[in-house]
Symmetry: D2
Subunit: 342 residues, 4 copies
């Protein structure tokens, strides 16, 4: 069985596990006030060229999004997001549970937002009988593998600043995005253009952990209190700091992401060569295929994947195959050989 179900099926590479193990009997202060978290924060702010920023470590992706939205918004404010976003469709109503309406923009198959998709929503919500738009949330990479260019994110950022909106980037797959051949975006760009963004560890080499960069100083005060309130403070907080330190000290994070992207590119190229139908042409580590039910069943016998959504073509399904740091060229080639035989 080839494992392409997702990029959180494997734990962590040896460097990260070793870093964790070393902390075990040191006796550290709890709740993220330890030296590992402090050093990891300094490292990330340095890489982001954002000395006025602050980094908060949380455990998971839904958690960090929920805490950030709850922290940033007043009760009557809402979040502009793509109808296809993880925030809307796969977080079990976490933002609404914190009291905030999502205002859905109709994104295309690449999952990306553009100012022209947001403008009509802004206009409609000037009516005070509606929720006030306040945060624009985008994911990079998007849920369908797309990446924002610097120009695209700059346009969104300018639109937000012109309209009193905060820009928040869900970077659960930020490693895959920033190391994609199609991306010219950098960490300093993100810190300059977004008010806050996450650097996802879970899907790129950490056992768990998301780093939330609060680039905008107005978003920093009292953050610990709401993180604690929403169950996002890890008692043994150094476990997160130590992993991020290991991932970013020597560029391991980007190396792992590049590996996942390279394996995905090899996989996508192989599938094209087999003349299989792609749903989108993905520049990152998620690959999407349109398959009929015969092929879907056959694939289930040789690999783990996820159904993504019904395809436009009747009786067809969009399925998703995901690579990660633990995927090897042998995995990809073996799978392609098996697929060719179907």
């Amino acid at each position: 069985m080839y494992l392409f179900r997702n990029d959180y099926s494997f734990g962590a590479p040896p460097q990260v596990l070793a870093a964790l193990g070393e902390t075990s009997l040191e006796g550290n202060v709890g709740y993220g006030e330890d030296g590992y978290c402090r050093r990891a924060e300094a490292l990330l702010l340095d890489l982001c060229q954002c000395p006025e920023g602050k980094v908060e470590f949380l455990t998971g992706g839904t958690q960090v999004n929920a805490v950030a939205m709850a922290a940033f918004l007043r009760p009557w404010e809402g979040v502009l997001t793509a109808d296809s976003s993880h925030l809307n469709g796969h977080e079990a109503g976490a933002v609404e549970a914190a009291g905030h309406k999502l205002l859905l923009a109709p994104a295309g198959p690449d999952g990306k937002l553009r100012p022209e998709l947001l403008l009509p929503i802004l206009e409609e919500h000037q009516n005070p009988h509606t929720v006030k738009p306040r945060v624009v949330e985008v994911a990079d990479a998007t849920e369908s593998g797309g990446v924002y260019t610097r120009a695209e994110l700059s346009a969104l950022s300018a639109f937000c600043r012109d309209n009193g909106l905060l820009l928040y980037v869900d970077g659960a797959r930020l490693g895959a995005a920033l190391t994609s051949p199609q991306s010219d975006l950098t960490l300093p760009d993100l810190a300059r253009l977004a008010d806050a963004f996450t650097i996802g560890g879970t899907k790129n080499g950490a056992l768990m952990g998301e780093a939330l960069v609060l680039a905008n100083p107005a978003l920093q005060p009292d953050f610990f209190r709401i993180k604690k309130q929403m169950g996002g403070v890890l008692a043994k907080g150094w476990l997160l700091g130590a992993q991020f330190e290991a991932l970013f000290r020597d560029g391991l994070y980007f190396e792992l992401a590049r590996r996942g992207n390279a394996m995905a590119a090899r996989l996508q190229a192989g599938l094209k060569a087999l003349d299989w139908q792609l749903w989108v042409d993905s520049p990152t580590n998620q690959i999407f295929l349109v398959v009929d039910q015969v092929r879907r069943s056959a694939l289930q016998a040789i690999c783990a994947f996820e159904d993504w959504r019904p395809a436009r073509e009747s009786g067809h399904t969009v399925i998703r195959l995901v690579t990660c740091f633990a995927t090897t060229p042998e995995d990809v080639d073996g799978f392609l050989t098996a697929a060719a035989r179907l």
Copy 2:
């Protein structure tokens, strides 16, 4: 420096770390649907003699309490808890953030609730202009180290069932409680007497993780959805299952807890022998001293501890010293020797 700050200053014993490391490259299904979680659940339900129960693994103590209260309660229902409870004083308003009022009962220094403390609150809240009491929350061990006997918990349980209340036990320090010489309570007792309770991993040998036992089947449906909604689902959920399996397969959990209790007893006995003033006589792994400011400063030079609360005696402070699985007899004796010299 002797480290008595708390029982989550150290990571995990080698058996737990080893179990974690082995999972890393296996390729596991996410979100707790893996074999480790299934086996750990079966193991715990077996130890609890509660085949109709269900176990949910969450990451931390505030998180599991917040998710449980949100899951169990309707919006107009409240939680009866001790005024000195962690739920009330140290979780940053997490239960209220989910919309529920805490109804505070005036517990004594042992932190324990008894039916007669709850009855007046019930009577006052028959008025429909008030919140409806629905959950009774107790901690075992309590925040000041006390433990419930079987008779005490049985009385609470009977009171709850007579009054349409659910009984929830916060077992963040359940290991310390169940292995205390003063306790005759067992896991099967808990499963029989409480509607739900937690078995805390974080404070007794896990890197992180709390097992929530939903003994009452009425509390089980849809739990995953609210756990996800509140950010309590770990993507790499097997990390929790593997730790609990390692802790409970061969009784390691109880062995670690016994070690922490034994070190605390040795510490408390030594302090008594020095004629230092205890705030309460603790049967578990938290020891409380009443110290003046001179002694407090002197202690700060030789050990890590926490200020607990102002003492009744003017200018005095109650401080807390905590032992855990990683505390050694040498730590205790070394500290006592140093303390004797102050």
Copy 3:
């Protein structure tokens, strides 16, 4: 100026005002526990042929919807509603503020939901990483003036019962709906087919007040507590009971609604005769026109109306004209004469 802005621009007819005035110095028990509320409840349940029901009086439409949704749902449950619904677009995120996600179905211009619009949403939300659908909310009359037939509501009701969903009807304009020539629906039908529905007073002859009929006994317990919690209990509750008693004792409610509908029909027929473009053909008291900016400006000089939404035709706007119990034939004819001159 002809006043067609909405159906809550006028207070109440003399019978209602007289009923209110008489209560003023009687000395009544507060919070809806008075004789007026009891009698009005009995009257409504009798008209609904629903002896096992319960009626709760609240002050306004957004309030009653918000309280009902908060009362009916568990935190992880959501509401299926039309994308064009008042609940979604004009209640400032009230349902989300109570923690619940709206799941939007793409209704047509008539604003009505049908099972086939709901089915794909149900399927998508079997995934436990999403919100669980639990309530289907429809408005009768809809926001664009449409009405449900008995067959249509029966189909929705059957779909709901087959799928474990509650059916809730927002009857802010129920009078207009039930007295529409296109409707064969009755109060007993509603009580039989819906789990709960409102009978709107505010838009049909009351100063304020919505009667919430809880036809499904499972929805009744503890309702007062959440109504109080959400600020929906009026201290002088008899003011609501007295108005509903006056409106329903002798059929005044239906007489007022019929009058509003008749005036709207006269208005719509007159506009058609002038060859003006209708957006939808409305069978109730809201009339929708598509106008260009020249005509829109000209109309603003002779009558009060509301912009409804951008029209499909570039530079055109859909505007809404509303009649009510206080609209006279002279108002309509005078307006039509003036409109013909534009």
Copy 4:
């Protein structure tokens, strides 16, 4: 039967009813954007000498408190209030339902807060694992009839400003407070010392309605949106404006309150003369008696009152008798005569 149950048992005096009746067929703009509300706001701000203020009209007392707290607070912030406050004990957890913890100060029998009661709570909540104190809520008159002097409110106000706290005064019985012989406080004092306060209509001559004065400009933006979201916007908003205009145009509000206070003073003096035991000596329109069960039963036969709380004396109850604008000297004297015969 003499009616002393509460001060919301009667509707409104003729001047208020007449003002309401006149608005009925005028055709007014909805949602509080009408001329009545504008004029009433200007009148109140003028009386408060607070030109930079803003007035929001809401329907009821629990509602206005819940909306104000939700509007003023961030999710991690809490409200300091007396343990005996209406906010804590009689609003069904409305503030907690909006996500905020109440931090209870142990007030004396007069129900008043003083800085020294608040200081220990502030100190305890510097710990970021707790809720951050942000609003101090006091009622004037208090729940047990007490009133704040200018010196007392000034001290609270100074304490709040020194500690980054907002001061909010629940004025559900503000008329009774300001016209009490023991009060030297004025509306301009309130506007100067408090960040926001309410002027209660419901308990002093309005059918319903509370005016919220947002004296602090920082609290004003977007208030309409949250008022709408929480169901606090009345469609026929002019009903509130017209009542407040009628009550404040010529001082009627204060005249009504003085009448209620005078009747209470006459009642309290008469009860003292009978040598009945007062629970507190009340300077406003709520009178509290300690009675045994024999007297309590006897009283139930001659007047309507409310049980307030268990008395300290075993088997005794504190009961409350309330006067209002509709109470006459004949009511009081008749009752006292009947009481003397018991």
